[in-house]
């Protein structure tokens, strides 16, 4: 009796699971899962490498800085150059800064599921981020970070599907937080100017795409997490 009960229960469970298993198989081509899996596995591997390389670069940067500090303590010539170097590092975004400013919050809106609307206007695109950052610079920002990534002279915003890629392969996802240090009033006025970000503001109304900002008395912006390499542009003369 016990064996019979066990077998009945097991058969029930196995059949149930097999049915669920069958239902969860995707309907499109059978190799789609394998392809997706392989591609995403590659992304995970490359992002692991990316994080490890960034950690290595930061460790080396700390070693270089220690060497520079020690050199400056030993030689007045090195001290003089180091003072100038520290100024340039600040300009380039290699130093963390804090101060008053604004925080801009951005998130995707609702998909209208309208076959006639293929604009993807409900999502935040890399160009939106580019426009916001440019407007903040134009409004007097002294330092900007997006989702904790410092905007530096080499920063480019790049399309990565539903993500935005910046600074040596850092993949950013919505919701986005743009932090800008500067005069809070001037930055907020720039963002509030109806002639600026007109298209983004219109999409915000149509699709419920989130666009808001708050002024702050103290914000913190991290330093750039890598360094700069110049290969082609050589000093003139």
């Amino acid at each position: 009796m016990t064996v019979l009960a066990s077998v009945s229960l097991a058969t029930f469970l196995v059949t149930g699971l097999a049915a669920t298993q069958f239902r969860s198989q995707p309907l499109p081509p059978s190799n789609r899962l394998a392809r997706d899996e392989a591609l995403r596995h590659s992304v995970n591997q490359l992002e692991d490498q990316n994080r490890a390389l960034k950690t290595k670069v930061q460790t080396l940067q700390a070693g270089v800085k220690a060497g520079e500090d020690e050199s400056a303590s030993r030689s007045s010539a090195a001290q003089q150059v180091k003072t100038q170097l520290d100024d340039e590092k600040t300009v380039a975004g290699l130093t963390a800064v804090h101060g008053p400013g604004v925080t801009v919050l951005l998130h995707d809106g609702s998909d209208p599921n309208d076959p006639n609307d293929r604009s993807l206007g409900w999502t935040v695109h890399y160009q939106d981020m580019q426009d916001i950052v440019n407007l903040l610079w134009a409004s007097g920002a002294e330092g900007i970070a997006v989702n904790g990534q410092r905007i530096v002279p080499t920063t480019a915003f790049h399309y990565a599907g539903v993500n935005i890629l910046v600074n040596n392969g850092s993949r950013l996802s919505a919701p986005y937080t743009v932090t800008a240090v500067g005069d809070p009033l001037a930055l907020a006025n720039g963002l509030g100017d109806p002639d600026q970000l007109a298209e983004l503001k219109s999409r915000s109304r149509i699709y419920g795409l989130g666009l808001s900002w708050v002024r702050s008395t103290r914000l913190s912006i991290p330093a750039f997490d890598a360094t700069f390499l110049v290969k082609y542009a050589q000093p003139l003369g």
Binding site: L13, L39, K56, E68
Partner: protein, 227 residues
Amino acid sequence: MRNHSADRTARTQRLIVVGLIGLALGFLVVIQFRSQAAVARTLAAQDDTSVALLINDLNRANNQLLQQSVALSQQEAQLRQALTAGGADSQAIEKELATLRVVNGEIPVHGPGLQIKIQGSIMDFELQDALNSLRNAGAEAFSLNGYRIVSNTPIISRGQSLQIGGRSVSAPLLLDVIGDPEQLQPAADLSASSLQTRVQVDIERKTDIAITEVITPHPMIYGQLGR
């Protein structure tokens, strides 16, 4: 005696049945979990083309980071060598200083690149799109009609002209870009293709372009160093 033996046989049979069922269940549960996770990813994540582009970008970024770590290792070794010998190598610091001055647009530079002529008016976002694409392709220095541009240079449309850092420029526009021409060309072509419906764009590769204009950085008024 016979009863005891029969009980043992029945118990063994039950164990085998339960064991086999356990194996089958475990197998199915594992497959179930894996396939559900994969389906979730298929549904939630991006299309294959976007992922393929991302892989390409990550490969390029990792290569960049690898080159950065090699350069930093050399710099650290140079500094340590002088310190071990009892001195200090200010040249190693000067080298980094020169690199940052180039990056910040504070010294005149020259090198290979592209000269892009735009024979008409364009909007601020169109110029920003082009600069963004070129920066993504490794552009190291820009100048537009004689004005140096870095990433924080404000670019604003004012009627038919553009304000570059508060100074007005009008068509024709001449954009000088220093970087690897092989890498820059596809980015420039892409930008040109979107502009060419309205304005004529000519792209010329140059073995040496000089950008003599510089930027004087503004001191921070609101920002203070440190977190």
